[in-house]
Symmetry: C2
Subunit: 143 residues, 2 copies
C-alpha cells in the first residue's frame, strides 16, 4: 500500500502547489492542462469528448472546465464541422498567451519537482507509464 | 511536465480503481485511509486535526469523512480528554471489521498495482518520498 499512498500524497502536494502557482493566471492545473492540450492540437481545437479522453476526466468535468475557460475568454466553443452534434473547444489568442505565461512560471518552478534531476524524472515517467498503459491511458512518447 | 502529468494520471487511474473495489464495502479510498490510520493508532482514536495532518487533507474534508464514517457506524466521535475543545474519532468494532475485509480485497487486487514487482514498488515509494518530505508530509518508514 505504501506505493499507492505515495502516489496519492504526491498528487495532493503537487496539485496544491501547481494550483497556487497558476492562481495569478486565474487558472487551475485542470484548466491549464486543457489549454495545453489545445495548444498541441493541429488546429488549436478539439472535440470536448477527445479532451475528456486525453485528460481522463468525466464529460461533466470537461464541460465545467470549458465553461470556465470560455467565460475567461481563453477558449470558444464551435460546432464540429465533422459531427453535427459535436462541439469543439478552440483556444483563443488570449488563451495561447496565458498558456505561454503560465508555462514560464511553472517551468521557473521546475513544475514543483525541482528536487529531482532529469534522469529521475524520466525514470518516474517510465515507471508510471506501465500503470497508465495498463489502464488504457494515452501516454505520449517521452520527449 | 511529463513526470507531473504521470503522477496526476496515475492518481486518477488508481483512485477510480480503488474506489470501485471499495464500493461493495460502502467505502471510498479517502474513508478507507482514515479508517486504516485509526487502526494503526495506539488507542484506536485520533484527534480530527491529526487525521487531517496525516492524510494532508483540509479540515472540512476530515469533517465530511468522519461524518460519513460515523453515519455508517464505523467510527464514533468522542470528546478529547486532553483537549476540552478537541474531538477524537474512534474506530468501532464494525469499523475494524470493514477495514479487515476491505484490506483483503485490496490486497487481493495488489492495490491495483500488481503490474509492478516488489522492488519497483519500493523504488517508487523511495522516489516519491523526496517530494513528500520536501512538502513536510509525514512519511512512515518503508515497511
Amino acid at each position: 500500500m505504501a506505493a499507492v499512498t505515495s502516489i496519492m500524497r504526491a498528487h495532493q502536494i503537487l496539485l496544491s502547489q501547481l494550483d497556487a502557482l497558476l492562481k495569478p493566471h486565474d487558472l487551475t492545473f485542470a484548466r491549464y492542462e486543457a489549454l495545453v492540450l489545445l495548444t498541441f492540437s493541429k488546429a488549436g481545437s478539439l472535440p470536448l469528448s477527445k479532451i475528456g479522453e486525453r485528460l481522463m476526466v468525466h464529460p461533466t468535468s470537461v464541460t465545467n472546465t470549458v465553461d470556465r475557460l470560455e467565460r475567461s475568454g481563453l477558449v470558444r466553443r464551435l460546432r464540429n464541422p465533422r459531427d453535427g452534434r459535436g462541439v469543439l473547444a478552440e483556444i483563443t489568442p488570449a488563451g495561447r498567451d496565458v498558456v505561454r505565461r503560465a508555462t514560464d512560471d511553472l517551468m521557473g518552478a521546475g513544475f514543483c519537482m525541482d528536487m529531482y534531476g532529469e534522469a529521475e524524472l524520466e525514470a518516474m515517467f517510465e515507471q508510471l507509464r506501465t500503470l497508465r498503459v495498463a489502464a488504457g491511458d494515452f501516454v505520449p512518447p517521452a520527449a
